[in-house]
């Protein structure tokens, strides 16, 4: 069992800084998911916790002990690799037992631990096989088994499911979650898949270009994204972003293409006259009667998924701005099979409290209306 602490953790490769100071406390038993696009530094951060990358600056502590100068084996961690990294010439049993043998555990103890983990992962009948005789899902289980037998204070997962097919991924995701619940081991999980991130995490770290843009529970991140990047990364299909401007006196919000949003009822005095990015999730747009509409969607493409339908198109500029260009693309998500055809013009209104305002320059969150 272990708490993990990050304090101003930085990473440099030569002159390039790839991680710009991460601060965070992870409590014992928490499941933390680090999510972000490729190259954002999430794997590097995990490898620094594992001890496979040196920490350029700052401190990482595990269980209250600063581990900067400890070898991986002394950090009480286990790492599950993306491509499993099983020893190809060893049987499943030996793969799981190897670390224990080096740790000089007694034979009966090793046997017991491996058998127990194998039972938990339903690998008992595969123990004599070589990794190349196993399917992808089974290899993944062996990799997890190798982590479990060590009985570590912390599990580290480096995109463990990205080599599996879609169906298996969903199944393994559930299993990892259940396993972590039943073992109660602190876990750090790196992924670029936001569905995995949302479903697994107690708390999420959304990383972008070496910065942790937001650290919070999945729902808090969904409801109140801290930046335009986070808003666009979490949620599928991605949030719509429209160029807008807060009116003089901060009482109204207007899209750059002319349409007023939420007129009259606002109190954004501190933002008066400021250009903003208005974000609204596809599922928070509703089709309304013509007189209630805040904006119109010109439908270009409809995707029917069964449970819901997606309409892609662009924003229709207001009539008093005949020169407006149809540059703002918009996606709408409707439950069930919607009766929409390509070429339709739909009157829309955003649900209450569903508009997110971001600074147009920096991208940081300003307000929700």
């Amino acid at each position: 069992m272990a708490e993990i602490g990050f304090s101003q953790v930085k990473k440099r490769y030569g002159g390039t800084q790839v991680i710009h100071g991460i601060d965070m406390q992870i409590s014992d038993g928490e499941f933390i998911v680090i999510v972000g696009p490729s190259g954002c530094g999430k794997s590097t951060l995990l490898r620094m916790v594992a001890g496979l990358e040196a920490i350029s600056e700052g401190e990482i502590s595990i269980g209250g002990q600063v581990v900067n100068d400890l070898e991986p084996k002394d950090r009480n961690i286990a790492l599950v690799f993306q491509n499993y990294a099983l020893y190809p010439h060893m049987s499943v049993y030996d793969n799981m037992a190897y670390g224990l043998k080096i740790a000089k555990l007694s034979r009966p103890e090793i046997e017991e631990r491996v058998q127990q983990a194998a039972k938990m992962l339903e690998l008992a009948h595969l123990l004599e096989r070589k990794p190349r005789q196993l399917s992808g899902g089974q290899r993944q289980r062996v990799a997890m088994g190798r982590a479990i037998v060590r009985d570590p204070g912390t599990f580290l997962f480096d995109e463990p499911l990205s080599n599996l097919d879609a169906k298996l991924r969903v199944q393994m995701r559930l299993e990892i979650k259940q396993l972590q619940r039943s073992l109660g081991t602190t876990s750090l999980y790196v992924t670029h898949d936001q569905v995995e991130a949302m479903t697994l995490a107690d708390r999420l770290i959304v990383m972008n270009a070496g910065v942790a843009e937001q650290i919070d529970t999945p729902m808090a991140i969904y409801d109140r994204p801290a930046s335009r990047f986070v808003a666009g990364f979490i949620g599928s299909p991605a949030m719509n972003f429209l160029a807008g401007r807060v009116g003089e006196g901060g009482r109204e919000l207007r899209l750059e293409q002319g349409m007023p949003l939420r007129s009259g009822s606002l109190n954004l005095g501190n933002l008066a006259g400021q250009p903003v990015t208005v974000g609204v999730r596809p599922e928070h747009l509703q089709v309304v009667a013509e007189e209630d509409a805040e904006m119109h969607l010109q439908v270009r493409l409809v995707e029917t998924l069964g449970a819901d339908s997606l309409a892609h198109g662009h924003l229709v500029p207001a009539e008093e701005q005949p020169n407006g260009t149809p540059e703002d693309i918009l996606t709408l998500r409707l439950p069930g099979v919607a009766r929409i055809a390509e070429g339709d013009r739909l009157p829309l209104r955003a649900a209450e409290e569903s508009l997110h305002l971001f600074d147009r320059e920096s991208g940081w969150r300003l307000a929700d209306v």
């Binding site: 991986p72 084996k73 020893y87 190897y98 080096i102 740790a103 190349r132």
Partner: protein, 282 residues
């Protein structure tokens, strides 16, 4: 080939048979010659069918040898060759495994310089550096010794390069997994890298054994004592006897005997050898 043309099948088989004949015929002649009495061959007409002196000739070759050429029994020469070939093969593999391991997995000063220095020696085969090497070996007092026969041929750029290329294809994650499992560098080498290199080692062993067995020039230079003669150079000594008729049946018997160990090594290790050359799965 998808096409089925009978004449093409005949033609290709014909070409193959011709090839086999060209390669096998001299060996057959050598075998036939080794089964006749010396006087049968002295007539100048080479018989095509085996004669009746098979056991006699081979027993004489193995046991006492050819008196006129110094009377070194073939069994002793084969033993010398075996020691030399094994020492070269095993020594080369051991040294190149370790040096390739150092070059691929450790960061030390002048690492690339070391690699290129080794690599450049590829351009200097034994024949090119034979005089300085002889001088060094002579000064060290290694003439007429097993060490003198094998040590100068052990350092090998080829094998080092081969193992380096193989180690580079071993995924980094395996190293990292071993580090997390707590395996130190030597442990990783012994438990992971060596078993993975098994087929490569086998393939290299076959090639190097034959290379060592077939050494001719080097043993010829540094051995003057008959008890250190190797078989390949020994054959040559048998042919160039002074003031006597070459004993062709004995020479041919020796030739046949000299062929056996390399053939045995190839046949015994053929499966691993082919696997080592073609296998890609890690």
């Amino acid at each position: 080939m998808i096409e089925h043309r009978p004449w093409l099948v005949w033609l290709s088989h014909g070409v193959l048979l011709l090839g086999v004949l060209i390669v096998a015929f001299p060996i057959w002649i050598a075998f036939v010659a080794s089964t006749h009495a010396a006087s049968d061959l002295a007539s100048g007409v080479t018989p095509l069918l085996p004669g009746g002196y098979l056991f006699e000739n081979y027993a004489r070759a193995l046991g006492s040898g050819h008196e006129a050429s110094g009377a070194v029994p073939v069994s002793l020469m084969m033993w010398n060759s075996l020691v030399m070939a094994l020492a070269i093969a095993i020594g080369k593999i051991a040294i190149s495994l370790l040096s390739a391991y150092a070059i691929v997995y450790f960061r030390f000063p002048f690492r690339m310089l070391c690699f290129w220095t080794i690599f450049v020696t590829l351009m200097l085969p034994v024949e090119v550096r034979i005089l300085p090497t002889f001088e060094v070996v002579a000064d060290l007092g290694l003439l007429n010794s097993y060490a003198g026969l094998s040590v100068p041929l052990i350092a090998s750029a080829t094998a080092t390069f081969l193992f380096r290329q193989f180690f580079l294809t071993v995924p980094d994650e395996l190293v990292e997994a071993a580090r997390i499992d707590g395996a130190g560098p030597l442990r990783f080498f012994k438990d992971v890298l060596l078993p993975l290199s098994r087929t490569n080692i086998a393939a290299l062993f076959v090639i190097l054994f034959i290379y060592g067995w077939n050494q001719y020039l080097w043993p010829l230079l540094i051995t003057t004592d008959e008890s250190f003669y190797t078989i390949v150079m020994g054959i040559q000594r048998m042919v160039t006897v002074a003031d006597a008729e070459p004993q062709w049946p004995l020479i041919m018997a020796t030739t046949m005997l000299a062929m056996i160990p390399p053939v045995f090594v190839v046949v015994a290790m053929q499966r691993l050898f082919v696997k080592g050359l073609v296998e890609t799965e890690k």
